[in-house]
Symmetry: C2
Subunit: 218 residues, 2 copies
């Protein structure tokens, strides 16, 4: 018992640690898949970037696709957790929607790897995502949070009542995803680097203005 505890405490010194190996593979794989796409990612490259070997990918995840599925699931799960920390019930409706928009904006900018992963998955028509049953209806929390705010705003007359929460969420997502996912091509064609702090700050404010403007229109 004492021995077990001690080895758990100094687990970082152990040569063999299933959890650690698994987590490291997942972390590196997330990076490689988001950088190179599913087909572009190389199993050997992922293995080389860890302190373990390719063999472990097959041992823990069954293969390339299994690893990719695990990456997808972990990434989406992290997003869900972030969304649940997004409290807006103490703010006035108008401030709440702006807050949600701006925090979503920040979250996207701070997690480009996840956005790229979503792009990759869409190239493949979401065929892998559909296999992960645990992710079905993952969007519900985000929609219901917005739904609450909209209901409060409708009741107080501060927000218009004929707009659906999912529509609002889609507007916000569109804008935020585009910033990150299409930064390369848009930047090239219009000579605008969307990732510099000042441009980012302006876009952030603009998004808030657009969302608030839309929801408060008479």
């Amino acid at each position: 018992m004492v021995d077990t505890q001690r080895s758990a405490e100094r687990s970082e010194e152990r040569l063999r640690d299933a959890e650690r190996t698994r987590a490291e593979l997942l972390e590196v794989a997330t990076e490689v898949f988001s950088e190179q796409g599913y087909s572009g990612a190389r199993v050997d490259e992922i293995a080389e970037r860890t302190r373990t070997t390719k063999r472990m990918i097959y041992y823990y995840f069954g293969g390339k696709e299994g690893l990719y599925l695990a990456v997808l699931e972990a990434a989406y799960r992290r997003i869900r957790e972030a969304e649940q920390e997004l409290h807006a019930d103490h703010l006035a409706p108008v401030d709440a929607v702006r807050r949600i928009a701006e925090l979503t904006f920040d979250h996207h900018h701070d997690h480009p790897g996840f956005i790229r992963l979503v792009s990759v998955e869409n190239i493949h028509n979401g065929q892998h995502l559909k296999k992960v049953e645990s992710l079905r209806d993952l969007g519900t929390p985000a929609a219901s949070l917005l739904d609450d705010v909209l209901a409060r705003g409708r009741a107080s007359g501060e927000l218009r009542g004929d707009v659906d929460a999912v529509d609002v969420h889609m507007l916000i997502s569109s804008y935020c995803v585009f910033q990150v996912a299409n930064a390369a091509t848009f930047g090239f064609l219009f000579g605008r680097d969307m990732l510099t702090p000042d441009v980012r700050e302006r876009h952030r404010r603009i998004l808030g203005d657009i969302v608030v403007g839309w929801l408060t229109a008479h």
Copy 2:
């Protein structure tokens, strides 16, 4: 001379036709690259889907990357042509911006292959696009068209004057690109198929409302 003309006229009957072969390869390659991504696309598959052979890909385009570059250039060139047919100078400013938004929306929905190609290119950080010098500043026409409308609206007082044309274009692009590029994941997570006619029609109207609302806000 007469012979030359005749063989040009019935070019579709010729066994050897450089232009036809080239065009067919380009067409099939556009489809395959947009469906599978750059790394996912197989040179052999592209060749098999045409009436010619893999050899011709190397003869006309030098290789897989050359073919992809040609696909990118052709696709963007088609977009530019479509944009140039977008006349809005005979409309009142408010109607003009709504028109631009809605036509852009339709264009995106009608050319999903192009949108997917842009996603693919962004996964690779636009590294190929940057190689096609002829595409530099391709965005300028779209921005200046909007710029004209905004100037007219500013002069007449119908549109606010503190908004940049590129910002408006980015809002419209974000919304339209998202509809097509992220249809799979968003549809799965929120149970909404964005490609059905009625949903599409509602989104179209919403986009117009948002853009007009933003630009006419006091």
